[in-house]
């Protein structure tokens, strides 16, 4: 039986602390899978060199740019928010969901990420319910990292 939704209902996602090692694995995976697609043959740089010199993996380089530590890629934060809706709503999220976010300030490795969504609007029409959510992600200092909105139409 599907859940009934009202304005103010809230979804919470698991708290996550992303380690620098996880960021390295993410970058290595990205380079391995997408570099052959993105770069012309023969000009693809070494995975290890690129990963070692990235603000997403190297704390020292990140600090040179005034950041607290290695930066978690914004798209990874987006992926967590999307996963929150996938876990809550099921496959319909991947078929019809809309997620729009702004990256407000950088998240860095070892930050504890808390993600939630609150129902802002419920519209019933033609046998369906269209839900609009406000989405927010904060760190352990309650600094806002991401803000956005999500929409889904449920049967």
């Amino acid at each position: 039986m599907s859940r009934s939704w009202t304005v103010g209902d809230r979804i919470d996602y698991k708290e996550i602390a992303v380690t620098r090692e996880q960021l390295v694995q993410e970058q290595l995976f990205g380079w391995e899978v997408m570099a052959p697609v993105v770069f012309e043959p023969g000009v693809c740089p070494s995975f290890e060199v690129m990963v070692a010199n990235s603000i997403h993996t190297n704390s020292e380089i990140a600090r040179r740019y005034g950041l607290r530590d290695a930066v978690i890629p914004g798209v990874r934060l987006f992926s967590y928010i999307s996963d929150m809706f996938l876990c809550e709503l099921g496959v319909v999220w991947a078929e019809e969901g809309i997620l729009s976010v702004k990256f407000v300030s950088p998240a860095v490795s070892e930050d504890v990420l808390s993600t939630s969504a609150t129902v802002k609007e419920v519209v019933s029409e033609a046998g369906t319910i269209r839900l609009t959510f406000d989405v927010i992600m904060v760190n352990q200092l309650n600094e806002q990292l991401v803000q956005g909105t999500a929409q889904i139409t449920l049967p």
Binding site: I16, Q22, Q25, E26, F29, G30, V33, M34, V37, V38, F39, P73, G74, V75, R76, F78, S79, Y80, S82, D83, L86, C87, G90, V91, W93, A94, E95, E96, G97, I98, L99, S100, V101, K102, F103
Partner: protein, 138 residues
């Protein structure tokens, strides 16, 4: 084709389509590495929506010189499930908007992902922010 420097981008600039294959192994590893779920129906496993987002950002780095460019926003509108052993086509890629605020250039690019049948499964917009000479003048 060389990479586009965003300081020279114009609204309406388009980019050639790109295709690649996401195998079951790649989809599974993506979910493991990023700590997210893969959508599962009764008979099939599908690519995590987050993987499509990651791929679009990678494809943007094929089209643009991303040196000094930050990702400021991301929007994905899902329209269907992507099989975890299918062809991914990134097409209809273009510059949608360029604006200037506080010495920064905001560039919005749009992308459409289709599956091997040509059906759109995701429409996306990314917002990039960069320091450009023109932004400083505005």
């Amino acid at each position: 084709m060389g990479k586009l420097n965003l300081s020279e981008a114009k609204i309406g600039d388009t980019f050639p389509p790109v295709s690649y294959i996401v195998t079951s192994e790649i989809a599974k590893r993506y979910a493991e590495v990023n700590g997210v779920s893969q959508p599962v129906s009764a008979s099939s496993t599908y690519v995590s929506p987050g993987m499509l987002a990651h791929d679009i950002v990678w494809i943007a780095s094929k089209y643009f010189d991303i040196t000094g460019v930050l990702l400021a926003g991301l929007e994905l509108e899902f329209e269907g499930l992507m099989s975890d052993s299918g062809t991914v086509n990134v097409c209809e890629s273009k510059i949608e908007d360029i604006s200037f605020h506080g010495g920064d250039q905001y560039t919005i690019a749009s992308f459409v992902i289709t599956n091997e049948d040509g059906k759109a499964i995701c429409r996306s917009k990314i917002t990039c922010v960069s320091k450009t000479a023109k932004a400083k003048e505005v």
